[in-house]
């Protein structure tokens, strides 16, 4: 079955009891039992809820995984996955990882005795060099946030396997429609489902997906024991969002390509980061491991004044945090997604005060370009 069909016919497309074409929202915390010896499939919503399960199954299927778990936010998914590690363990992380991930690693998991090193993951040798005897995992984003740096996932997963490490990939920017890290040998895929998967900027959610049965069991244990689960209403909204994933991604990606090309021709734009551009570092690697460059791009401007003018002056692009919605969102990583990273660290990583990130939505690209043009040059 092709991807677009899977999105609509995911095994939960029809309610067997009533024939309803949409999964019922099972807003129950507990479930009546029939037998004192053997409990039914569901006993308590933290442990399992039919609506959440339909969503988890759909996401597992999309990623070609066997087990998916839905969480209250992307950070709850990431934090829950990090609870797989023990004190003394070490994780090698791509250096421009999302600021929220950086924050939990450096201010929370560090206190629990889990260490992390941040390295340039575009360079497999740098990844290899950062591995220590106590290293247990690689934590990667590709394309990375916000500089769209590319990591060779197959190469990284091979490296990890040869050293006995897990490869964990935050696949938020790509979604399984464009990139399936489990197929490339990675072990755990994480998502902020808030972004493209749900796609409407109206729900907070996160996922952890794996193919491996043991890892699946361990993730499920953490999900149930820690309890950072996604509610039934939100689960249903995400299921609803998933149905249009392919058409949204395709359209947004088309728009992003147009805008990236236009920005490249602007003299006040000093640099454009978008994996769809032929001269983007890692362009070939990205093209080989994914089905497209996605709908997020970032760019730097010639001055801070101009940056501010663009952020505040654009009428169609919502100046807000987050990304991946039907609305185009313009954001300012230095003070938003990466505000948790100390300034010096941030600038070293290239997240400067003139860097702007654009998540392209479903508006007509001509309108978006006209809006950007007015804010930049008007």
């Amino acid at each position: 079955m092709k991807f677009a069909t899977k999105l609509i016919h995911n095994g939960h497309a029809c309610d067997p009891a009533t024939g309803a074409l949409s999964v019922p929202i099972c807003q129950a915390s507990t479930f009546r039992q029939e037998s004192a010896e053997e409990f039914g499939k569901y006993d308590y919503t933290r442990s399992g809820n039919p609506t959440r399960e339909a969503l988890e199954d759909a996401v597992a299927q999309m990623e070609n995984g066997a087990h998916a778990y839905a969480f209250a936010s992307g950070m709850a998914a990431i934090s829950s996955a990090l609870l797989l590690f023990s004190p003394g363990d070490h994780i090698v992380v791509c250096e421009d990882v999302y600021g929220g991930t950086y924050r939990v690693l450096t201010s929370l998991f560090s206190r629990l005795g889990i260490a992390s090193s941040f390295v340039d993951a575009t360079d497999l040798d740098a990844l290899a060099a950062a591995i220590r005897p106590e290293t247990k995992a690689l934590f990667l984003e590709t394309p990375s946030n916000p500089l769209m740096k590319i990591t060779d996932l197959k190469g990284a997963a091979e490296l990890a396997r040869s050293r006995g490490l897990l490869t964990i990939v935050d696949n938020t920017f790509m979604t399984p429609y464009l990139q399936r890290p489990l197929d490339l040998g990675c072990d755990i895929v994480l998502h902020s489902g808030t972004k493209f998967l749900n796609g409407h900027s109206d729900v907070l959610c996160g996922f952890a997906v794996t193919k491996d049965q043991t890892l699946g069991k361990r993730l499920r244990f953490v999900q149930n024991a820690f309890g950072a689960v996604l509610g039934p209403q939100d689960s249903w909204l995400v299921l609803r969002g998933l149905k249009t994933l392919k058409v949204r991604m395709e359209e947004s990606q088309k728009g992003a390509g147009r805008i990236a090309a236009w920005l490249t021709g602007q003299k006040r734009v000093t640099r454009v980061c978008y994996p769809g551009l032929a001269d983007h570092p890692g362009h070939e690697v990205h093209a080989a491991q994914s089905a497209g460059p996605g709908a997020v791009l970032s760019f730097t401007l010639e001055s801070y004044e101009l940056t501010r003018r663009l952020l505040e002056g654009s009428e169609l692009c919502a100046f807000a945090v987050s990304l991946g919605g039907v609305e185009t969102i313009i954001s300012y990583p230095a003070r938003m997604s990466h505000a948790a990273v100390p300034k010096e660290e941030r600038e070293k990583k290239g997240i400067s005060d003139t860097l702007v990130r654009l998540s392209v939505g479903l508006e007509d690209p001509d309108d978006l370009i006209a809006d950007l043009d007015k804010a930049l040059n008007g």
């Binding site: 807003q27 129950a28 915390s29 507990t30 479930f31 009546r32 039992q33 029939e34 037998s35 004192a36 006993d43 308590y44 919503t45 933290r46 969480f71 209250a72 936010s73 992307g74 950070m75 709850a76 990431i78 934090s79 609870l83 004190p87 929220g100 924050r103 939990v104 201010s107 929370l108 629990l112 005795g113 808030t194 749900n198 900027s201 109206d202 729900v203 907070l204 996160g206 244990f221 024991a225 820690f226 309890g227 950072a228 689960v229 996604l230 509610g231 209403q233 939100d234 501010r308 952020l311 505040e312 919502a318 100046f319 807000a320 945090v321 987050s322 969102i329 300012y332 003070r335 938003m336």
Partner: protein, 377 residues
């Protein structure tokens, strides 16, 4: 202001634009900024959402605390509180603890070198004896699950103050309507709001209230960093539930006392645990500190086969996990809520194969008694 009044009015004045008397469900992930460096006060729903905030302010007000926090489940709330501690820290904990909390402490946080000692927290001297130099907090269930032991909060919080410990109270079984732990010296309260606060068995949620503003900042940091937050729809449902907290609990307690007395007189019942009975060891403490005794009852039947008989033969009373809802539920703690506790500890605590737990709902008390009576026959 009376708690019943405060609860009924949660979110009432929120929407000044339209005058709507309930807080709108802000089903949004992100918020548009008016300009660079400017914010409406809301940036991203994980960091703050108006619907969730109305709930968080509501619980803070009911408790008389500085701030409240809402989480995806009661376990997520407790897990977030444990993030306040570091490697090597030690906590003294109620021994007949909810099984999910026990699992979280032992199997998730145990590996990060947090140590826990489980004691009978209805015994202040036992708590004192368990305190070590590295002890940082007391985690106590005000009314325990499932054996309904009563904690003497004024004495325990005085002990915590004297020894520099945080006093964290899981007040799920009583709610602020019946007992306000901050009035008795506690620092943090935590709830599975799934239970009495939301009260309808239709949403899974967790709440925390913190008395001190600085401590609240630290709790907020973890709420935002880990992101185990409650969604807007579930926040709204929890608020909706809290508006009827007082009337539900009034009726539930009335029913519970009737049922407890009826059970105590039944020949097939060996033992009844209900703090509303004068014979219960914690009765006097709750009479002094609380507005009531709650609506949870545990009881032992005379022989194991009666367990299955009661679980399956009751018609009005549903056999299901959870508690605190408008419907009466019956559970078998040994294999349901407390399955994660080691068998030996369970036996010592009195969680055995003839113990049943009732969460009494708001049905007519006579109907519930009739249902139990036919199930016993």
């Amino acid at each position: 202001m009376n708690i019943a009044t405060q609860a009924a009015q949660i979110g009432l004045e929120w929407d000044t634009r339209t005058g709507a008397v309930t807080v709108p469900i802000y089903q949004t992930a992100t918020f548009r900024h008016p300009g660079l460096g400017q914010s409406t006060g809301y940036d991203y729903t994980r960091s703050g959402n108006p619907t969730r905030q109305a709930l968080e302010e509501g619980i803070a007000r009911l408790e008389g605390g500085a701030r409240g926090f809402a989480y995806a489940s009661g376990m997520a709330a407790i897990a977030n509180l444990l993030l306040l501690f570091r490697k090597g820290d030690h906590l003294v904990v109620t021994e007949d603890l909810y099984g999910g909390t026990y699992r979280l402490f032992e199997q998730v946080f145990g590996q990060y070198d947090l140590a826990f000692t489980y004691v009978d927290t209805s015994d202040v001297e036992a708590v004192r004896a368990a305190i070590r130099p590295e002890t940082r907090a007391l985690f106590v269930e005000s009314l325990t699950n499932p054996l309904l032991k009563v904690a003497d909060l004024p004495a325990l919080s005085a002990l915590c103050r004297e020894r520099g410990l945080l006093c964290i109270v899981d007040n799920t079984f009583l709610t602020p309507y019946l007992l306000r732990p901050f009035d008795h010296g506690a620092d943090i309260t935590v709830y599975s709001a799934t239970k009495y606060l939301a009260g309808h068995n239709d949403t899974v949620s967790g709440l925390v209230a913190v008395k001190d503003p600085q401590l609240a900042e630290r709790v907020y940091f973890h709420q935002n960093s880990v992101g185990a937050v409650l969604g807007p729809q579930d926040s709204w449902l929890t608020i909706r539930g809290m508006k009827t907290l007082s009337v539900r609990l009034d009726r539930q307690q009335e029913n519970a006392l009737k049922i407890a007395r009826w059970l105590a007189a039944h020949p097939l019942v060996r033992k009844v645990y209900y703090p509303g009975l004068e014979s219960h060891p914690g009765h006097a403490i709750l009479k002094r500190d609380a507005r009531g005794f709650g609506a949870m009852i545990a009881f032992e039947v005379t022989e194991h086969p009666l367990v299955e008989q009661l679980l399956l033969k009751t018609r009005l009373i549903s056999f299901a996990e959870s508690l605190g809802g408008v419907e009466t539920l019956i559970t078998f703690p040994e294999v349901q809520t407390h399955a994660d506790i080691e068998p030996e500890i369970r036996r010592r605590l009195g969680i055995n194969n003839v113990l049943l737990r009732l969460s009494v709902g708001i049905e007519d008390g006579e109907d519930l008694i009739a249902d139990l009576a036919q199930a016993f026959r």
